[in-house]
Amino acid sequence: MSSIVSRRGALIAATFIALLALIAMAAPIISPYSPTAQLDIVLQKAQPPSWAHLFGTDIASRDLLSRVIYGGRTSLSVALLAVVLSTTVGIAYGMVAGYAGGVTDMVMMRLLDGLLAIPRVLLLIVALSFWSGGGEPALIIGIGLTGWFGMSRLVRAEVIAAKPREYVSAAVALGASSRRILIRHILPNVIGPATVSATVAVAQVIALEAGLSFLGLGARTAHASWGSIILDGQGAFAEFWWIPLFPGLAVVSTALAFNVLGDGLREVVSGRQLDGRGAPADPPQTAATA
């Protein structure tokens, strides 16, 4: 039963995400106003939601709906690219460590322990302060390069589980190089769990990016993300509740959708592992017991 519920949830989440992506791509067509146009700094300043402005206007008299639509472009693209970066680095690092084993693995894992000890948000605040004006590329690189630690641990564990499989030994015995074995025989075992983890990571990064942008470390003006739209209303939240509300809702619902999708994918992936891979209880073979 839980599987049906979560599958339906995942379907709704996927539809929602697809819709968001469509809106972000079609922003110039569907947004009612320009996101940067100050309509009338006197008469249109900080108006509550109305038929003319569904989400109201901000302190600079810009249409909030248009800003949220355009903000989705920034928030989603930054989050996706950052996760692509962190996933790539994480998979590469985890695969090398897990496959090499021995001293290489130990050194790489201790290094990772050290990196994990650094508080991520603090590191990002410091790094992005130094790279002020870096805009979206700075956010993507910063978030991407600090987000791969968990992924590489997960990938390493999957590699260590896949390595003793007999078809891997068979490939070695038939002359395959390490690179070929990693890509052909190990990577397929890693892709499923990594996809799940990356999907959940998008949710985290959406929230993280909003936080950083709210702190003024993200993209501003024309490339305002949801976080920086909220920042624009800073100091007047109590009066102008709609300014933090709508971009905030966008952040929360998007993060939620990616989390739900990740959960659904996890079930699909672990289900496939159970029925598609033969007897799950084949003991890892070691040469010593032959």
Partner: protein, 353 residues
């Protein structure tokens, strides 16, 4: 080992594979496991050699050592010599080694279920071997389909697109054999190739191996614990015990006149048609741990003939006849064979009850 006067005689051509004093040790927390401890053997071109022994005797580690597949904490010790087609396998580069693996020496694994990757079609997996050794995509696929036919899979062009789980155990093992033979290697190492299969399928697979050997002139090193399999397939047998070769002979000689008490025990433990024994006999006791081989003869505690010499002196390989060697002091004291006694482990067990 100088005392290892193997059954190589002058009239034999230079062997395809020659192993001299192979030692493969595993450095575990429980101590150094001397899994293979001074094994010498050779395989000639087109020859099928059976390597027999019970679990833990070192036969599989010997095979893995030939392809240098030993992973840490295991290590092939210095002084071991592996020579194949005139090349020293101990000193060649990794690239050369990969060129030999799968192309000149191929391995057939025991479990056809797990030796095939479930996410690729069987045709793809056979083609992969050709691709590894430099074939184009097209060549590789054509060769894969051809090999499926050679190993007796009906409508090979269709079956090539099947995934391993769509085939029966016997068919899968045929695929594994096709993967091993697709590059037409000089030597195939088959590690318990029929153990995981039904008896009727076993016979088919053994017949297939025999046919293919005739067809391609491939040498086969057949690793098994089953003397019946050896009798059907091999021309020469090497018996291993405790990480060492204990007896080597032609199949007929070994079955008719086994010399080593361990070989004798193995043969007695085999069911035979026409014999009406209520129980099959067993060899008492178990193989001692490879971290602590006993001094002297490693089989002595389980041996019905052992005497004080066996405790003091590690037996060399004695020449018994032409091409027949045995690691047993009985070679110099044959009259003791007439007076068996309960083995030490049996006496110990009796004392306990």
């Amino acid at each position: 080992m100088n005392s290892a006067r193997g059954p190589r005689t002058a009239d034999m051509p230079k062997p395809l594979l020659s192993i001299q004093d192979l030692r493969t040790y595993f450095y575990t927390e429980a101590g150094v496991a001397r899994a293979v401890d001074g094994v010498s053997l050779h395989i000639g071109t087109g020859e099928t050699v059976g390597l027999v022994g019970e679990s833990g005797c070192g036969k599989s580690v010997t095979a893995m050592s030939v392809l240098r597949l030993i992973q840490p904490p295991g290590r092939i010790e210095a002084g071991s010599r592996l020579e194949f087609e005139g090349r020293d396998l101990m000193t060649i580069t990794d690239r050369e080694l990969r060129g030999i693996r799968g192309a000149r020496i191929a391995m057939v694994f025991q479990e056809p279920m797990t030796a095939l990757n479930p996410v690729f079609t069987v045709g793809d997996q056979i083609a992969e071997v050709v691709r590894i050794h430099g074939g184009t995509r097209k060549e590789a696929w054509d060769k894969a389909v051809e090999m499926l036919g050679v190993v007796g899979i009906p409508s090979p062009a269709d079956r090539a697109g099947d995934y391993p789980h769509q085939l029966s155990g016997g068919m899968r093992q045929r695929v594994v054999i096709a993967m091993a033979l697709v590059m037409n290697p000089a030597l195939v190492i088959a590690d318990e190739p029929t153990t995981a299969l039904d008896v009727t399928i076993q016979a088919q697979i053994l017949e297939l191996l025999r046919d293919l050997q005739k067809k391609f002139g491939t040498s086969i090193l057949l690793i098994t614990h089953d003397l019946g399999v050896v009798a059907e397939t091999a021309s020469r047998v090497i018996v291993m015990y405790g990480g060492e070769v204990v007896e080597e002979a032609l199949v007929e000689t070994l079955f008719d006149q086994p010399h080593h008490p361990y070989t004798e025990g193995l043969l007695r433990a085999m069911p035979r048609v026409g014999e009406t024994r209520e129980r099959l006999s067993t060899i008492p006791g178990t193989v001692p741990p490879s971290t602590a081989w006993p001094a002297g003869c490693r089989f002595r505690d389980r041996c019905p003939y052992s005497w004080d010499r066996c405790e003091k002196e590690h037996p060399a390989l004695y020449q018994i006849g032409s091409g027949h060697v045995s690691r047993c002091h009985l070679a110099e004291d044959p009259e003791r064979r007439a007076h068996p006694h309960p083995a030490l482990v049996e006496r110990a067990a009796e004392a306990l009850t």
